[in-house]
Amino acid sequence: MVKNILIFIVLIGFAVLLANVFVGFKGNSELNTLANHYAVSGPEEVGSANLVTAVVVTYRGLDTLGEVTILFLSAAIVSFLLKIETSASRKRKLRTTSEILDTASKILVPVTLLFGIYVFINGHLSPGGGFQGGAIIASGLVLMLLSQPAKEVSHKLITIVESISGLSFVLIGVAGVIFAAGFLDNTLLSLGKFGTIFSAGLIPVIYIFVGLKVGAELSGIIANLQENQNEV
């Protein structure tokens, strides 16, 4: 009880603190200098219609690389932690799935995967991009696992996709250092015609790798949790 009161007091104090952090917040009526630069020069510097994508992939590309790394780390740790040490894997009872779900998933899974790919390829034009696309791909996997619980997910495939896309991401970054102005410079490819699929230089390429990598990592986490279901 004493503890709950203490928690309450501390939270009140924290609320006061937060209130004071944003006490100077008056909303924005116009873009600040930084955002203004992105809005004005972004299209010609980077060539991406989606400014968020421009910021995420190019201007703050290092963050994105870090973010992908975080997912990679999570996936690695989860897989390490859930690794079944005893090699004797027991077969588990298979749940029978309804035919409707089965059939639906047969159609839905490829569609989901395609949609995911569409999302990250169009990341520079419309909302969405590598993360969203990757997440969608992983959802496709979930759907598949729901309908066919017995299905063994190929870890090898996941790992290879993960590694190749990750390596490519890094190599593109390094290529930027060597052949262009800096790490992850997207002008290595010509910017193309603004607003079309083949534009914004390397952004779509990078987003493809990000999408694949995020998809693979999330799939890896889920597959690990799924497989772990086997071990009762």
Binding site: V119, P127, G129, Q132, A135, V142, L218, L225, N228
Partner: protein, 81 residues
Amino acid sequence: MIQLIIALFIGVLILIMAVIAIIHKNLVVGIIAAGAVSLFASVLYLLLSAPDVAMTEAAIGSGLSTIIFFYVLNKIKRQNG
């Protein structure tokens, strides 16, 4: 103005869901409520002209995150039984 009302409505929903997520005894309900917070938040993001964020929050925050919660919960329940 209509935007404001929607925002307020969603905001109230978010808060209700958040409180449910915390206080409901049933973990499944809690997880779903937390997913709902994310889902409503993504609507709020749309109102705030942030479609990218909305999409991400919907796919990751309310989608995958909830799924992972359930996988873990499921696993824990199996071990129990």
